[in-house]
């Protein structure tokens, strides 16, 4: 789960990392009322959206302090990469002498936390990695943050000591708050001091049970249907096609989407009911995918030990009760498979054994 810039900065500040001074405004009026808090004559008005490349998209404006409320008014409600701007951060304009890049991230291949540093901050790290990877320093951190070692590895930098100190605080934050990524880009030198001029923090979704302060923030990433799915322990992601997909297991559902596309259809969603599948969950899943009015539904359950007759009976009843009009194609593999298929066929739900046949069928039925 991503935090907005101002949330990230608040978190960094609570771990004693210096950040630029600013205020958050939800309306132009709020900006007007609070602007006296800022002493500087010039300010940066920054859109608080969870989208990269904000600056290029016009999401950061440098203006005179007196103009900030008007800039706020113009900015609010606009969209950046499909994300509506609902808040702005108004900050004192920093006099920047130099920009560094500094982040701590979970490294999948090294299976540790890795510190990334570059003398050339301010550009996106992906871009830097592509164009000049030699300019990025990578330092693996095993368990403890060893400041002496980190400082030694950063020694070519003029500010090695200060950067190490900040990295140590970021590491503490990362462990305490279950962050997958803590990025300061740029880490600016302003009047001789290092200041976090931007902040990007991602909190591990799996750790929300022990980081309850972030749980409400998770909700805003989700659409209404996605929220409903989450409550039922279903993994649901909306897509823009018209064939609803329900399956069990993330990999199998992804493969199911791929095969629908392979045969010329467009999936309306990704919905994983989880490793095991019982009828209640399939029922909730059907309910959720129907909200988007798909042209058809494909249910692909490879259970192994799931009882197919149960799932089939439930599905058949549900179809009768709720009068589902769109075509449904079902593939059920598991225990009591034959019986399950019989029940479905009797209720006008076609079943197929192979993924290919299912995909062809649902694409044909929804044309």
């Amino acid at each position: 789960m991503k935090l907005k810039e101002f949330e990230g900065k608040q978190l960094l500040a609570s771990f004693e990392v210096s950040t630029s001074k600013g205020l958050v405004a939800n309306t132009a009026e709020e900006a007007q009322a609070k602007i006296t808090q800022i002493e500087c004559a010039e300010v940066a008005v920054k859109a608080q959206v969870l989208a990269g490349g904000r600056g290029k998209a016009g999401g950061i404006k440098l203006v005179k302090k007196s103009e900030a409320p008007e800039t706020t008014r113009q900015m609010l409600g606009r969209e950046i990469k499909g994300k509506k701007i609902e808040q702005v951060l108004i900050e004192e304009k920093l006099e920047i002498e130099k920009e560094y890049y500094l982040s701590l991230t979970v490294n999948r291949s090294e299976k540790n936390v890795t510190l990334l540093f570059s003398e050339e901050g301010g550009v996106e790290i992906e871009e830097l990695a592509k164009n000049s990877p030699e300019k990025i320093k990578k330092i693996g951190i095993e368990r403890e943050f060893n400041a002496r070692e980190v400082e030694r590895k950063l020694s070519t930098s003029k500010h090695a000591r200060e950067i190490t100190e900040i990295a140590g605080k970021m590491f503490k934050l990362m462990k305490a708050k279950d962050a997958e990524l803590v990025e300061i880009n740029p880490l600016a030198i302003s009047r001789g001091k290092l200041v976090a001029a931007d902040a990007k923090i991602i909190i591990d979704d799996n750790a929300l049970y022990r980081q309850p302060e972030f749980a409400p923030l998770k909700q805003r990433e989700l659409s209404e249907s996605e929220k409903k799915a989450k409550q039922s322990d279903l993994n649901y992601v909306e897509l823009d096609g018209d064939i609803a997909i329900i399956g069990n297991g993330a990999g199998l559902v992804m493969a199911t989407l791929d095969i629908v596309q392979h045969f010329g259809g467009k999936p309306a969603n990704f919905l994983d009911v989880g490793g095991g599948a019982n009828f209640e969950q399939v029922q909730k899943a059907v309910e959720i995918v129907l909200e988007k009015n798909p042209k058809g539904i494909w249910i692909n359950v490879f259970g192994g030990i799931t009882r197919c007759d149960d799932v089939a009976r439930g599905l058949a009843n549900y179809k009768k009760e709720k009068q589902i009009k769109v075509p449904i194609v079902v593939r059920l593999i598991g225990t009591n498979e034959a019986e399950g298929k019989k029940i479905l066929e009797e209720n006008g739900i076609s079943t197929q054994d192979s993924m290919e046949e299912c995909a062809k069928k649902i694409v044909e039925l929804t044309r």
Binding site: G52, V106, R108, S109, K111, N112, V113, E124, E126, K130, E142, R143, M174, K175, D178, E180, D204, D205, N206, A207, Y209, R210, N235, V237, L239, G247, N248, G249, A250, G251, L252, V253, M254, A255, L257, D258, I259, V260, Q261, H262, P267, F270, D272, G275, F302, G303, G304, I305, I333, G334, S354, M355, E356
Partner: protein, 285 residues
């Protein structure tokens, strides 16, 4: 030979008195796995699924020699359980889904320090068909043979195993490495093990979007693997930035897409299947 587990493997089940643990302990025993004991803190002295239960892995191992443990406990307790097992010197399979990534780093770090294998978290487990199953996969779809399978997914693995078995392509060992960003045994380790194993003649690698493990695997295959390897990547249609079920399955920026992975395999001369059903055809070619 097979890799990691065989008919001589002795297994402890952590969380054996829970719903999942007892259910799968029973199925593992039915499959023929040597389940020798169970562990549930504060429930030592009881019996579950025909084996004695202990309070800790250490106690269980002292009473019954064992080489592996399999963990079925809720995510909150997975780290403690895994460290308990690793400290007692056991290779460990973590079935549990939803383990925080910093806990995973600690678990995998401890395994490295102890020179032990961890499989998972968030995985179906490992099976050497006809010999030993440690995990939750449906045993009946597997068949003894010479194809080594390694996968980031659960049910998609079953799907592909089913295709292999239907086409009379049995498996030496199948490793479900798990769908999380940080896991123990990964593609590289599995490939290395399969390369050394006499029984394994061909390898199937099942990847998905997110991270760059597949890209690294492609390079590794090109450099170090002499056995025929076929790959499949799930998630060609996945949008950017959305987590597709597995915590590890997120495309960020330009990296981790199906295209970059497919290209990496193509560049390394590894054939990839567009559909799961193509895998047997590619192996038989």
């Amino acid at each position: 030979m097979s890799v990691l587990v065989d008919e001589n493997t002795r297994v402890i089940v952590q969380g054996i008195t829970g719903k999942q643990g007892s259910f799968h302990a029973k199925l593992m025993k039915e499959y023929g796995t040597n389940v020798v004991a169970g562990v549930t803190p504060r429930k030592g002295g009881q019996e579950a699924e025909g084996v004695p239960v202990y309070n800790s892995v250490k106690e269980a191992v002292e009473a019954h020699k064992a080489g592996w443990s399999v963990i079925f406990v809720p995510a909150k307790f997975a780290k403690t359980a895994a460290l308990d097992s690793l400290e007692a010197g056991l290779n460990t399979v973590v079935i549990t889904e939803g383990v925080p990534v910093h806990d995973e780093i600690e678990i995998v770090g401890k395994a490295k320090e102890k020179n032990l294998h961890v499989i998972g978290p968030n995985c179906p487990g490992v099976i050497s068909p006809g010999k030993c199953k440690i995990g939750i996969m449906p045993g009946h779809i597997f068949k003894k043979g010479s194809v080594g399978v390694v996968s980031r997914s659960g049910t998609l693995t079953y799907e592909i195993i089913n295709e292999l078995t239907k086409n009379n392509l049995g498996q030496s060992t199948a490793i479900g490495m798990g769908g999380d960003p940080v896991v123990g045994v990964d593609f590289l380790k599995a490939l290395e093990l399969f390369e050394q194993d006499d029984e394994t003649k061909q390898i199937v690698l099942i990847g998905e979007i997110g991270g760059d493990l597949e890209e690294r695997a492609a390079k590794f295959i090109q450099e170090k693997i002499s056995k025929k390897t076929v790959a499949y990547i799930a998630g060609r249609t996945a949008p950017k930035g959305k987590r597709m079920g597995h915590a590890g399955a997120v495309i960020s920026g330009e990296s981790g897409t199906a295209e970059t992975k497919l290209k990496a395999f193509a560049d390394a001369g590894v054939e990839t299947a567009a559909l799961p059903s193509e895998i047997p055809k590619l192996l038989k070619k």
